[in-house]
Symmetry: C4
Subunit: 490 residues, 4 copies
């Protein structure tokens, strides 16, 4: 407030000073004009595009350019996303197919519990895989084929990892182990009806020392459905890896099937009957930023292996661009207060998150140590954090209560106290305080806006000039002289 | 505030002016009376029905009529809804029946994963459908029958879509394809124990080129259960379409069963033993609005195919009518403040939703591109939006965290950062700001009501007249002269 | 505020009046004393038990009695609840047993989809039930037995409901039906290895006319586990009813198993080896209210059939008693403000719920009509309301979005608009307004308490007396004269 | 406020007093200096570490030590947690293995419904267990072995609990029972292909009197996977107990498998081929507090049976240590207000929880009694509380509505009223009041901070001294004289 008076004093002094020295008056009036010019010029500089249009009739080219850029980036992202969606779907469906073809008695959704517990079952599962692999093209309804390397099919490899040596007698609580891991591999060529004994005569699993068995083979396929979208089909190499995992030696061997995909352009192709094919790498115009284009080309031709890094850059970039759009909303007064509130409350929210974060962390550590053995969700520090964060934000609590194993009364009571206090503390106190912080900030900003206090030296300087944008005084032709004079007099 | 003083000045001037010019006094007093008359008349006009009743004893016919209209519309809607509920249930149960009868090894709830992966399985499934179709009436416990067309059963048709020509060698990364799609159809008449080879001698599936196989047939049924509700039974034509979808050529052929329903009045019927039948199209009285009636009749006779459009109109209409009822609550002062708050806060909320929506959109785009390949819920832009919107409003977060596939560490970390920041930002900052906006609006409106500031010219004019509704001055017999005089003097 | 001044005027007048008329002074002073007495007496009357103890040393007998009563009622309720819990568990386990024994291929949790679709399956299921019933005691691991009536086993009855007459030709869209329902019953006595043809030679199901088949039989059992809790075992009569429901004639016959339970005291029993048996009907002490006792005795002896009505009375009663306890918390100032806020905000919250309820209702109706055919949760008006209410309060939204069937694009878009607007409106605006209402009420009450404005005539009268409870002036021996005088002077 | 004026009076008096008595002036000035010294010294004492550093350049050793301590405790906890995680995983996987090996037709996740209902099934299950136990090492893929006791395998024991005597005739509603429980045991040695008749010739189950059958045996195993983490493998004794529970005599015998684990150091071992083995009990340095170390050693050597007690102490301890860290955040002014708000609001929140708790309790009791028989979640008082608490905090409500069994209309309506009112009351009123309490506290504290009112005598005394920490006056060398003088003059 006192600052404001100072500023008007300063202004008054310009005017009251003038009549004092009559001969300096002309010079002074010229100075005053110059100051006024400067003020108006600066004020114009800080106008938003709408106001600039009103002030001088300048078309908001920059704004339009910005919007066009955002549109282009978004369209590109969406087109890339849509094409990517199809690739992902094809990969997923092939994975499902391989599970159904190569895993014995596999049921959809049962991968979590797909494991074997008996020695004969392990042999049966391996034999089943070899058999299915052997007459794949009589079975599959897709267009899968073996990989060929110089006219010869590349074989399926069966590899067994085991400790080099080891005699384990749990009955006596004694063991002798050589912790070096050895690997034994066999190659199996596609064959119509193999039995394990025939194909791998010397093959035996040393269950007590065994760490894992891995079956690896490559299948090739072509994604034909892109033909209907007027894109060229791609050729896929699926490397299927089936792992029998016995690292825990707990009597449970978990079986896992993964497929790594390698996408290439097909070597030789001929498509007829479709109206027009876009080469996929056209789209749109030439003024793309260089990095964007390269990324896009790379991804489109699907030769880039570091797909994840790219997508993170692309995604985060687009996100930031869009968040940047909010700036333009600040041009409108009613929007401005909301955005200002969010921005002003941000540091306080972050500060408070730090405080609450420490309490949160302490609950995480405590829960992990005490409840870890009794609840799936408290098994690792990471899942504890996710579970607690979800609980605050409205996750189902009852299952968390219910699935707590009730072996020990002490732990059971602890778990109840732990959950009730955590939820009460965070939902009733900490979430409420967030609301309070935001409300407080909003009130502060609203009062600031209503009192209209200038908050910086520049604002004080400009506050003297009250000309509205459409008053006409900003028009270049009229002011030209003024600015010219302003420049000359300097 | 200054406006208010003006208005009282205006009023004072009427009274202070009068004694000044004595000869104009009589005329002036008459004028004053006229103004007072007008004031009272306008005030009466803006009274709510209760006050009007107190002022002149006028019964609130309009209000009663409104309430009756709402009651009628709601009753009609409910009766239509209840009758519709039965139709939907019948359709649903028939769909379940067809799935159990025609899909081999079908298990309830398993439609998501109902697919085949082996060539022989495809043939088996088709043969099973033909067989079940062949002796349907010995199997079904419902009253299904084949459609007859001129005394002859309409046949089941088996159609195969495939690329006209195509040689695909994934092993060599080469292919040659003619993208024209050809369709090959066979008709099968109901037959007791068919084998595929017998019924369709030349039938062969070209798996590599095949896009889909479709089996289509029509079954007729009568919904007898309406008899017990004293309605006439309807005759249903179910067009059952079983699709083997191989468009992806991924090795997985998804099988889908749909039934399109066509509901007709039965041609010839005789019902006895039931007390009384309503023809379903009576109901109630004649002053129905024309569109409403037509719609209702159309839907009741079930000949309207565009059922969805109708239901959307009907539903939205009723919704708006009911929301209109809120207006009447504004008659009571305590309710009024709540409604006013909602209405006044609305533009600000919408404005803020715009701002938040941009941040939201940016998160959607980013999540779609980066997490799409790793999480079911981020597969399409639409599901991303639904997933994030649900997360804000209290959806289970833990499964979203958990189901993120952990193939790439980078993406895994990104997903954590993404979800933690999104939830924190939206729940702790943005939802809190909504509360702040509402609170602020409420305070503003409460202060306005307490200070009683008139907000429009009309209110200022009326604010002079302080007569209460039940003061008697509004009674028509007393005021008649006044108003008459008022009209004459004009 | 003006009222307050009035009250002090009134008070001043007593004192200023006195010196005016000297001869009336003595009388007046006596009057003043009387008024003071009355004031103190009334003030004492409104004191809370703690203050009364401080004022006159009176022990808070009433409060103690109240607390004892609450304790007794709660203990009784808990003991009844615990005993009831065991009965419910026994009933539930028997129901599971009957499902496993009598329903062919029954799997736990699959009752929703337990249905048959083929004619032979219906016969098979009935035959299976008869067979299992025939050699029940060789199968069951519980102590189930057939009911005997005069030395003869009561038979199992098979009843078929069907329309008296009916010829239905869906193929021609014609039907002729006599809507009278006839019932045909057969009795089957337990028999070792029956085949349906043997046992029920003339039994045939008229699928087209059939409404339902019902198999009913009675099994008796004794709940021995109460022996270990030193209670007498009860004898149970389970009436098992298996219903094949074909009312829809949709081709799907739903099978349902219910058991009605009748609990009696066993007729003849002898228990040894257990230390001491409480007869279960001891209770506790004699001052129980009459209704309570009768209820309890009735329920304990388990002869009361209207168990539900009782439990609702008992439960609601105990709830109200406990809520009444809150009154005592109002004795403490800090608690009082919270309770007062809740009480004061209540009418406004209810008012607002009315307004919001109308919008809510309009959404319910609209959703029911439009989305009913496309989503399970929108099938009936009741489930729509439950679903929407749950959505507001943090239910999983994503499944609601996801399970919307995507047949019609129009409905799909409508469903999105519907859900997004509903959730936004209710969570962002209406829930926020609740918070505002409560906050506003709290502020009002806090200011009232701080300004200490008396709000009623009585409070104004009492506000003059500022004696603290422990000041001693309330002691009976000292005041006795005063009060006596007070009574005499009247 | 009046206190503040007093304090300034006190201060003024020092200065105004001085010129009054000229000869006492020197003495007085010295006194003033002493007071000033003391003030500064105390003020320094209450400074936070940062300010102390600025004031005198003192390094914040204590703070650093604290942080180091916290780091050590957390690191230890994390290392212990990680090692514990592996143990828990090994136990869990073995439990899964035992279930798959010994329970007939066991399916993952189906333990809830794993039960038998037929007499022959009970015998079959027992025979299956004996058979699997007999040739365990030909089956298992883990390194399980029988326990040996003096060269002889310890046998599996089969124990049957039953009432000593009992004749139960549910058909007549009569029974005669001797409530003494007898136990009959058989020992079975591992045998290749036993049939129950052979192995246990006299074995028979008295189903009507039987309470339970228990099969107990011990298996030994070694957790080899720790070898890869450079830790010594541990030897495990699993005591497997399979219980057939018939206590309810409801016709359903629930089967349960538990394994108690005993972890020992292996007796004799030899590991080669791994680079370096940490003995697991090293880690870090010697200044550990004694209790902590002992606990850690005990747990690390895994001989401590009371693992749960330890983990609760460890977990809670670490939690408290971390929460203590928040104190240090109070050093920063912006953080301080948040922490102060939480602390100041705490008593009010607790008070309010008491009030709300009573309403909550009344709902719990009522729901338990009335809805207990009709809903799983309302079966016990504990689950009712958990269910309602979860509902308030955003649990899925729809399933709770939906799973309410609809047998009785009265109870159905009650359940709806119960749930709607409970949720409305708690979410709309009580949660909102929490927010109000926090907001109110925040406002109070903010105003207090802004008005800067000193709140204690000490603060008043210190408030006179306005020297900033980095003003230099606190430097020890400068003040030394002052403090010395201060001490001397006393």
């Amino acid at each position: 407030m006192p600052d404001m008076e100072d500023s008007s004093d300063l202004y008054d002094s310009y005017e009251s000073e003038a009549p004092a020295w009559a001969d300096h008056q002309a010079q002074h009036l010229e100075d005053l004009d110059t100051v006024e010019c400067l003020r108006r010029k600066i004020k114009y500089y800080f106008m938003n595009p709408c106001e600039k249009y009103h002030a001088r009739g300048r078309k908001p080219w920059k704004l339009i350019l910005q919007l066009v850029k955002i549109a282009i980036i978004t369209i590109q992202l969406v087109s890339f996303g849509l094409s990517n969606q199809m690739v992902v779907a094809f990969k997923e469906e092939n994975l499902m197919t391989f599970k159904h073809l190569f895993l014995k008695d596999y049921v959809d959704g049962g991968m979590d519990t797909y494991a074997v517990y008996r020695q004969t079952d392990v042999y049966d599962h391996i034999e089943y895989i070899l058999k299915q692999y052997g007459h794949l093209h009589n079975i599959t309804v897709g267009n899968h084929e073996y990989e060929k390397n110089g006219g010869v099919y590349t074989p399926l490899s069966v590899c067994q990892d085991f400790y080099r040596n080891g005699t384990i007698y749990p009955g006596n609580d004694t063991f002798e182990i050589d912790a070096h891991v050895e690997t034994e591999c066999f190659n199996v060529y596609p064959m119509y009806d193999p039995s394990l004994r025939e194909v791998l005569p010397g093959f035996e699993l040393h269950f007590k020392r065994m760490l894992s068995v891995k079956l690896t083979f490559v299948l090739k396929a072509i994604n034909l459905q892109t033909v209907r979208h007027r894109e060229l089909p791609d050729c896929y190499d699926f490397t299927v890896i089936i792992t029998f995992n016995n690292r825990a030696h707990s009597g449970r061997i978990k079986i896992d099937l993964e497929n790594d995909v390698d996408i290439n352009e097909c070597r030789d192709w001929k498509v007829s009957g479709a109206c027009k094919f876009t080469e996929d790498s056209d789209i749109f115009f030439d003024t793309m930023t260089i990095i964007g284009s390269i990324l896009k080309i790379d991804i489109q031709t699907k030769v880039l292996t570091s797909y994840d890094v790219c997508s993170i850059f692309l995604g985060t970039g687009t996100m930031l661009v869009w968040i940047g759009v909010i700036r333009y909303m600040g041009f409108f007064r009613k929007y401005n207060i909301l955005i200002l509130t969010l921005r002003a409350a941000f540091p306080n929210v972050i500060r408070f998150i730090c405080c609450a974060g420490i309490i949160y962390l302490s609950y995480c550590l405590c829960g992990w140590i005490v409840l870890g053995p009794y609840h799936e969700k408290f098994r690792t520090l990471n899942t504890v954090s996710e579970c607690l964060f979800s609980l605050i934000n409205g996750d189902d609590m009852y299952p968390t209560f219910k699935n707590m194993k009730q072996k020990s009364n002490l732990v059971w009571i602890f778990s109840r106290v732990y959950l009730y206090t955590f939820v009460s503390l965070f939902i009733y106190m900490i979430l409420s305080l967030f609301i309070t912080i935001i409300t407080d900030t909003y009130d502060t900003i609203k009062q600031q806006q209503q009192s209209g206090t200038p908050t910086s030296e520049l604002q004080k300087f400009l506050s003297v000039c009250k000309d509205l944008p459409n008053s006409g005084v900003y028009r270049l032709d009229e002011n030209n002289g003024c600015f010219l004079q302003c420049w000359i007099s300097r």
